[in-house]
Symmetry: C2
Subunit: 528 residues, 2 copies
C-alpha cells in the first residue's frame, strides 16, 4: 500500500488532517468478524464549528467559480478515486462484507455520478436563466428588465449511508450534486466504513488543491449522529442537508432542523419496502420464472438496498402459488451473506422475528454459523391483515419480503391505496393485464417516485430522467431526487435581477448569451 | 347590486354555500370606521374536514384534466372576476381602505396572473418531461427506458393576505399556481375582507361548474388562524401550504406543519424590510430627487406592501443629508391614509413608538384625526447601532423606514452582511458607483430574492423571470417564488417511469411527443 492509500485514522477539516478526541471507532470486517486498523475517533462540537466556519468562508470564492471550473474539479475527484480503485475496493470489501465485484461496480457508479454532474454543469440549464426584456413603451406602466438565475444555497451537510460505502457516501450523489451546485460540503462519514471514507476524502481533498478551490470546500467528520450530527444540522452556517439512512435517523434530522430559527431543506432518503405487483397474466405465464428472479433481487447485497423488494402484492390463485413455490425453492438455495455491520445483522434478525409473529413464514435462505450473516426470509399474509396492521409495512432492512395475497383486483387496489410512500413500485404485467395496470397506475403515481414494469427495483440508473425519491416516509421531500441530474436542483435557489447594469450581470443572464445556454426569453426557450 | 354580487355571508365548501357556526366577523371599513354587512361566522374542524375530504376526492379527476382544460378553467375564473369588477372593487375598497385605482389595478393583476398560468400550462415545460431511451446493447448492463414527468402534490391550503385582497388572496398567485399544477385548493379567507373573498370564491365556484371540474377542486373557509388554520395545515390530506402574512403567522404554520408525521412544504412569504442602498455618486447627483421618490414608494398603499422600503443604507455626507431633507419634506406633505384594519393601525403605531426609543425620529407625515390612518414615519441611526440592535431590523408594517448612516463603504458592506433575509434589495448607483455596486452584489445575492437597480421595490412584475421570495425570514423556503411563472413548481413533484408500456405512458412523455413539448432527451432539450 502506497503512502497515497495508507490510512491515518484522521478526519479532514478544510484540507487538514485532524485526529478526533471522542469515542474510538474502527472499521469492522463483518465476514471475518474482526475490527480493522487504524482506530478513528469521533469529532466534537469544535470540529463541527471549524468545518462549518471553513465552509462558510469558502462559499464566496467557491460559488464564484465557473461551471467549467467546477466540472473539471468533479472530474479530478473522479480521476483521483479511480487511481486508488484497488486499495479502495479492498478496504470497502473489508468494511462492508459486500462482494468485490459489487464494490468495483460502485466505484464506477461513483465516478460516473461525478462525471454526470460535470456534464450537467457544462450543459448549463442548471443556471435556470430567464430574461423578460424591458418593455419601455408598455401602458399604463413600462416593464423593467427582469432576469433570473439560480445560485447555490450555501454549505451543505451530507450524511453518509451504510449500504453504499462509495456511491451514497463521502463522494456520493449528495456530495457530487452539492459541489456541482457551488455549495461547500461537510460530510459526516458513516461509522461502518471510516477507512473507505478517509480514502475518498483524501481523493477529494487532493482535487480541491489541484483545482485551486478554497480549502473549506470540503471536510470529513466522524461523530455520533444524535450529537455531532445534530450539531451540524443546527449550525446556522449550514443551509441544506442530504441524508441517506433509516427512517428514525432521517426524521431525527428533520426534527433537529425544525428547531432552527431559519428553516432549511432536509433531503432525507429513508425507508421503503418497494411493492411489487404481480398481475394475473404475468403470473400465469411465468410465475416460476418471476419467483426465481424476485429472489435474485431480494438477496442481492444481502437485501441492503433502499430499493429492495420488501412487499409483493398479487391476487391469490395457482399463478401466485407457483410464484411462491419457486421463490421458496430459490430462497432455500440462497447462501447466507454478510451484512454491513453486526448491528444491522441484529436489527435484521429482530425484524424477521417480529414478522414471524404477525405473518406466515414460508421460506428461509440457507442456514449459517456466521454471526453477521443475513439469512433471507419470505412471509405471506392476506390483504385484510396487511391493511389492518401498520407494522407489516415497517421496513426490515435486509433480505426479507412479505407477499400479500389479495382476494381479487379490488383488494389489490385497496392495498395499493393503503401503502405508505415508497421509492419505487414495480408491476409485472402481460398484454392481457394492461387494463388492470392502467387502473393501478394513478394510485401508484401518488405513492412512489419511480414506477417500473417488467424488472426489479434494485439497480438505480444514474441518468437525467431518474427519480430516486418519493412521498413520505420514503423521503422527507418528495419534490426532489437524490440520484440523477436533477439532484443538483436541491441545492439551488433563484435570484432575480431587475434593471441591473449590463456590466454587473452574471454571464448566465448577460446579453449576447456568452455562456451559450438554453435560456427562457419572455418564457420561451431559446439558445440565442 | 345583482344577485351575482349579493353577499350571503357564507363560506363555500366544494360548491355549496355553508354558514359558519363560530365567532361572528364582519368586514370593516377602516376609512369610515364602521362594520360592514353581512356578518360572517368562523367555520370549525368539521368544515375543514369537509373541505379536505372534498379536495382529496376531487384530486384524482382534477389532476387527470389536460393542461388545456386547466388553462381554460383559469381563464374562466379570470373572466368571471372581470365580470364583477365594479362590485368587487367597491367591496374591496370598503373592506381595505385602499384607493379604487389601486384595487382596479389589482383586479387586472389577479386576472393577469390567472392568464399567465394558462400560458404556462399551454407552453408545457411545467411537465418537466425527460426521456432517457433504452440502451439495450450497453455493456455490462443494458439501460432500461427511463422517463420522467411532474405531477401535482395534492390538495393545497392557501392563506389569504391582508394587504392584497385580490392578488394574494382567494384567487391570488398561490391559488392560481396550485390550480394550474393540478392541485385542489382550500383557502382560508382573511378576516379583513370576507365580502371580497366571498365574491371571488363564487367566481371560482362558477368556473369550476362551467369547466366541469370536480366540486371539491375549490373551497373557501373562514376561521381563527391558530385553530382552523392549524387544523387545516395538519390535516393529512393537505400536501402543501401557501401563506402570505406576518412572520409570527408564517412561522406558526411552519411549526404546526412540523408536528405532522408527514413533512409537507410550507411556502410562507413573511416579513421583509427591503433595504435600499444609496451609493455616493447617485446621492451626490440626485439626492433630493431620490428622497422624494423614496417617500412615494414608502407611503404607497399606506406602506402595506411586502416590498415596502423599510431600510435605507448610505454613507454619511452632504448627499445623504440632501436625501434626508428632501424625504422629510415630502413626508411632511404626505397625507395620512387608512390602514387595512384597526389592528394593523394599532400595530403600526406601536412599532413606530418602539422605534422612537431606539432610533432618531427625523420626520413624520401629516397629522390626522382618523383612528385607523397611517401617519408615515422616518428614522435614522448609525451603522454600529444598527448592527448591535437586532430589533432595528423588525418589520414595522406600514409607512415606516429607517435610514442607516454609514461612516464609509466598509460599514455599508458590514450592514449588507448583517441584514436578515429579504425579498428585495435596491441599489441606486451612478456610473462612478459601479465598483462599489459590484462588490455589494455578491453580498446582496445571499440575502435577497430580487436585486433591483435604479427603481423602488414596491411593484412586483408578474412575469417569467420574477422572484418574489428570498432567504429566511423573508420566506420559509428560499428555493421558490410566490409570484411569476415558477410559482407552479412549488406544487409539483417528479415521477419516473421505467419500461412502462407505451400504451400506458402519460402523453407528456409518450413517443412522438403528442403534446409538442420541449423535452429533455438524454439530457438535451428538444421539441422532437
Amino acid at each position: 500500500m502506497s503512502s497515497a492509500t495508507r490510512l491515518t485514522g484522521q478526519m479532514i477539516i478544510a484540507g487538514v488532517p485532524v485526529r478526533g478526541t471522542g469515542t474510538e471507532i474502527r472499521g469492522f470486517d463483518p465476514a471475518a468478524g474482526r475490527a480493522l486498523d487504524p482506530p478513528y475517533r469521533y469529532g466534537g462540537a469544535g470540529d463541527v464549528d471549524a468545518a462549518c466556519a471553513a465552509a462558510a468562508e469558502a462559499f464566496g470564492a467557491y460559488r464564484a467559480t465557473t461551471s467549467e471550473q467546477r466540472a473539471r474539479f468533479l472530474e479530478t475527484i473522479a480521476a483521483n478515486i479511480e487511481a486508488i480503485t484497488e486499495a479502495l475496493v479492498a478496504r470497502a470489501v473489508a468494511e462492508s462484507g459486500l462482494p468485490q465485484a459489487r464494490l468495483t461496480g460502485e466505484v464506477g457508479r461513483t465516478t460516473g455520478q461525478l462525471r454526470l454532474f460535470a456534464e450537467v454543469l457544462r450543459e448549463g440549464s442548471w443556471t435556470g436563466a430567464r430574461i423578460d426584456p424591458a418593455l419601455p413603451d408598455r401602458s399604463p406602466l413600462p416593464r423593467p428588465d427582469i432576469r433570473q438565475r439560480s445560485i447555490p444555497l450555501g454549505p451543505v451537510a451530507v450524511f453518509s449511508a451504510s449500504n453504499f460505502p462509495l456511491a451514497f457516501s463521502v463522494a456520493g450523489g449528495d456530495t457530487a450534486s452539492a459541489l456541482a451546485a457551488g455549495c461547500p460540503v461537510v460530510v459526516k462519514g458513516h461509522d461502518a466504513h471510516p477507512g473507505t471514507s478517509e480514502l475518498v476524502a483524501r481523493a477529494i481533498t487532493d482535487a480541491v488543491a489541484t483545482a485551486g478551490m478554497p480549502a473549506g470546500t470540503f471536510s470529513l467528520l466522524f461523530g455520533y449522529g444524535p450529537e455531532l450530527g445534530v450539531t451540524l444540522v443546527t449550525d446556522p452556517r449550514i443551509k441544506a442537508v442530504g441524508f441517506t439512512g433509516s427512517r428514525s435517523g432521517g426524521m431525527a434530522l428533520v426534527a433537529a432542523a425544525a428547531t432552527r430559527p431559519e428553516p432549511i431543506p432536509v433531503y432525507a432518503e429513508m425507508s421503503s419496502i418497494n411493492p411489487v405487483f404481480l398481475l394475473d397474466g404475468a403470473l400465469a405465464d411465468r410465475g416460476a420464472e418471476l419467483g426465481r428472479a424476485f429472489v435474485g433481487s431480494l438477496t442481492m447485497g444481502s437485501g441492503q438496498f433502499c430499493t429492495n423488494p420488501g412487499l409483493v402484492v398479487a391476487v391469490d390463485g395457482p399463478g401466485l402459488d407457483t410464484f411462491v413455490a419457486a421463490a421458496t425453492d430459490a430462497l432455500a438455495a440462497s447462501p447466507a451473506t454478510p451484512m454491513l455491520t453486526p448491528q444491522i445483522a441484529r436489527n435484521y434478525a429482530a425484524g424477521v422475528d417480529t414478522l414471524t409473529q404477525t405473518a406466515q413464514l414460508v421460506g428461509r435462505g440457507e442456514t449459517t454459523d456466521q454471526e453477521n450473516a443475513c439469512r433471507a426470509a419470505l412471509f405471506t399474509t392476506d390483504a385484510r391483515s396487511f391493511l389492518a396492521t401498520g407494522d407489516l409495512q415497517a421496513e426490515v432492512f435486509g433480505s426479507s419480503s412479505l407477499i400479500v395475497r389479495c382476494a381479487d383486483a379490488d383488494e389489490m387496489h385497496a392495498v395499493a391505496a393503503g401503502i405508505e410512500g415508497q421509492l419505487t413500485a414495480t408491476v409485472h404485467a402481460d398484454d392481457g393485464d394492461l387494463d388492470t395496470a392502467r387502473s393501478l397506475l394513478p394510485l401508484l403515481e401518488l405513492k412512489v417516485g419511480r414506477i417500473l414494469f417488467g424488472g426489479w427495483p434494485t439497480g438505480v440508473e444514474v441518468c437525467h430522467a431518474m427519480v430516486h425519491g418519493g412521498p413520505s416516509p420514503a423521503t422527507s421531500d418528495s419534490r426532489t431526487t437524490s440520484v440523477g441530474a436533477r439532484a443538483i436542483e436541491r441545492y439551488l435557489r433563484p435570484v432575480c435581477y431587475q434593471n441591473v447594469p449590463k456590466s454587473l450581470l452574471p454571464s448566465a443572464i448577460a446579453d449576447g448569451n456568452p455562456d451559450h445556454l438554453w435560456r427562457r426569453i419572455d418564457g420561451r426557450l431559446t439558445q440565442n
